[in-house]
């Protein structure tokens, strides 16, 4: 039943029980003390009544003493006790009535004593007046008749009865007071003893229960603090590694940021270049058209060159034919000169001079032949060159045709390139924008990383603090466990 109770509930229950015990004890003690006080008050009340009874008798005696002194001496100063006692007697009698209002016997006595006192005071006044008016003897006669003494004796008897009753009451009330004191002492003594025993039992029970519960809890706290210490140590190690990693990440992010900025700048340059390329491609489109026209012009020029070259080849062939004639003439001249030389030799001495002329003619024919050969070589070179040129020109013409077709393809490709360059420009702009956004994001990441690094450093400090706290907690739990175990034992 109590196993499930909480710490506070057990303490509350224990203190409640102890409180109830002490409340009961205090109540009993209060009642006993109150009864003792009440009994003591009745005793004091009785003493007060007895004192007023004595005071009333004394006041009557003072009045009688003053009366006697004045009667004897006739001196007014002896009347002072009498004069002082008169109002006091009335007051004391009133006080006695009040004090004994709950006692019908005493009230009856006061009813009886009041005429006696009035009678006594009347006798005294009579004697005093007689002494003052008629002298000592008259007054002495009245005193001697004994009326005053008789009244005084009656008063004494009534007061003695009243005092006796009060004495009886005092005896009864003292007994009651003594009984109340005994009861109070018993209540305080035994109640205190019972409260102490109850408190001890409750303390033992609470201590036993709480020692077990707190000991178990402290054991858990100790093991938990040890685990917390280990976890905090591991966390500190992890946080240190994390700090290192965050530093590396920070460096990497910084490099990444720089790279992103470089990429953004490069993308911006690419955009500018793409825009320039777009402009150049557009102007290049017109250039391609003009170049196409130029190629067509070149085509016509090449055709004309081919025609002229073919004419030049024909002219070369004609020159070759003429040169064949010249060569033939030179050879024939040479033959004729040789034959003339032979004839001159046959003519003997007279033919020697002719032989010289023939020799000159032969030399001239040789020179003509050599020149004709050179011309032939040159003509051959020219024809070869013409043929080569014609072939090259025809090849060039074909190349121009192919070039014209290819140039058309190039123009088409150029337009496609222009279109693609526009697309590239847009893509480069998107890349630039994206890279700027990326750079911004990387900056934010950098800031976040810096914040994380700061938080990690704080976590590191916190982990150190946690380790210290866990260590202190472990120490405290050990001390507490030692205290709890020793207390439990």
């Amino acid at each position: 039943m109590f196993a499930d109770w909480t710490f506070g509930r057990r303490l509350a229950a224990a203190f409640t029980v102890a409180g109830i015990v002490f409340v009961c004890l205090i109540t009993l003690a209060f009642l006993a003390t109150n009864s003792l006080i009440a009994n003591d008050a009745t005793v004091s009340h009785t003493y007060a009544v007895k004192e007023n009874l004595a005071q009333l008798l004394s006041d009557l005696k003072d009045a009688e003493t003053g009366q006697r002194g004045y009667v004897i001496t006739g001196d007014e100063s002896y009347l002072e006790p009498y004069t002082a006692a008169l109002p006091h007697i009335t007051n004391v009698l009133g006080t006695l009535k009040t004090l004994t209002a709950d006692n019908p016997h005493q009230q009856d006595r006061w009813g009886r004593i009041e005429p006696l006192i009035a009678s006594k005071l009347a006798v005294l006044k009579q004697t005093i007046d007689l002494r003052r008016t008629q002298g000592f003897d008259a007054a002495l006669a009245v005193v001697n008749n004994g009326s005053g003494k008789a009244v005084m004796d009656q008063i004494r008897g009534v007061l003695a009865d009243a005092d006796k009753e009060e004495t009886d009451l005092l005896t009864q009330r003292n007994a009651a007071t003594e009984q109340s004191a005994t009861s109070a002492i018993s209540v305080i003594l035994w109640g205190g003893l019972a409260g102490a025993i109850a408190t001890g039992l409750i303390g033992w029970f609470i201590t036993r229960a709480l020692s077990h519960q707190i000991g178990a809890a402290v054991g858990h706290v100790q093991s938990s603090s040890a685990e917390l210490q280990a976890a905090a140590t591991q966390q500190a190690t992890g946080v240190k590694e994390q700090v290192t990693s965050m530093s590396e990440i920070n460096t990497t992010i910084s490099e990444l940021l720089a790279t992103s900025r470089q990429i953004a700048e490069s993308a911006q340059r690419v955009t500018q270049i793409s825009e320039q390329t777009t402009s150049a491609a557009r102007s290049g489109d017109g250039t391609v058209d003009r170049a196409n026209d130029s190629i067509s012009g070149i085509r016509r020029q090449v055709d004309q060159v081919v025609g002229h070259m073919l004419d030049l080849g024909k002219k070369s062939q004609q020159i070759g034919a003429v040169l064949d004639i010249v060569t033939e003439l030179a050879e024939q001249t040479n033959i004729l000169s040789i034959n003339a030389t032979i004839e001159a030799v046959g003519a003997g001495e007279s033919g020697k001079r002719f032989s010289i002329v023939a020799d000159e003619i032969r030399k001239l024919a040789d020179r003509v032949s050599i020149s004709a050969k050179e011309i032939r070589a040159l003509i051959d070179d020219v024809r070869s060159s013409v043929n080569t040129t014609v072939m090259a020109t025809e090849t060039g013409s074909k190349a121009v045709d192919s070039g014209t077709r290819q140039f058309g393809d190039v123009a088409t490709l150029f337009r496609e390139i222009a279109s693609l360059v526009v697309t590239t420009t847009e893509a480069a702009r998107e890349i630039e924008l994206s890279t700027k956004q990326q750079a911004t994001a990387v900056e934010q990441v950098n800031i976040a990383i810096a914040n994380v690094a700061q938080a990690t450093r704080e976590t590191e400090a916190s982990a150190g603090q946690t380790i210290q706290t866990a260590t202190e907690l472990a120490t405290t739990s050990r001390d507490l466990l030692r205290l709890v175990k020793s207390k439990a034992a």
Partner: protein
């Protein structure tokens, strides 16, 4: 331009030489030079003395005739006379040539066909020397030299003697 300038210089030199030849005194031939016709038979170079021939001819029209003489190609007309034309290569013991050039001996009796006429040599007598093989070939007894070039000299009289010898042989007569 350089070639053209060079041609101009050559033309200028030729013109001056030609003009100077008329201003020079009549030449006196101190030494007797020897004239040769430089020719090619087959692919071999040879030379023939101009004194042993009466003329050099190109494109001599030869009419083939049936004959048992291998070297006899045919006959040709020259200066109103009929001449037998022989292949000089076969006469020299070489393989047959397909030439169209011909020389005619000094006696205008025989035409000798060869491959190509190359040049006309005029050299001194001391440039003509006997062959090193000691006259092993019966038609070639001398060598002619111009500059550093040596050519065997074909002896036309020896050729003619050989032709006559063949013509006079009994087998040929039959």
């Amino acid at each position: 331009m350089n070639d053209l300038s060079e041609l101009d210089i050559r033309l200028f030199g030729m013109r001056n030489a030609f003009d100077a030849s008329f201003a020079e005194p009549a030449a006196r031939v101190e030494a007797t030079p020897l004239d040769f016709v430089a020719l090619r038979i087959g692919d071999q170079p040879y030379a023939i003395r101009t004194t042993e021939i009466s003329g050099l001819y190109a494109g001599l029209a030869v009419t083939p005739v049936p004959t048992s003489v291998p070297a006899l190609i045919g006959i040709a007309g020259h200066s109103g006379e009929m001449l037998p034309v022989y292949d000089l290569a076969l006469l020299l013991g070489l393989s047959a040539s397909d030439g169209s050039w011909a020389v005619i001996d000094a006696g205008n009796s025989v035409g000798l066909l060869f491959s190509v006429f190359e040049d006309h040599w005029r050299i001194d007598t001391d440039e003509v020397m006997p062959t090193n093989d000691g006259g092993h070939h019966k038609h070639i007894q001398q060598m002619a030299r111009r500059h550093e070039e040596l050519r065997p000299v074909v002896s036309i009289p020896s050729i003619l003697a050989s032709i006559r010898e063949q013509a006079a042989s009994p087998r040929h007569k039959e």
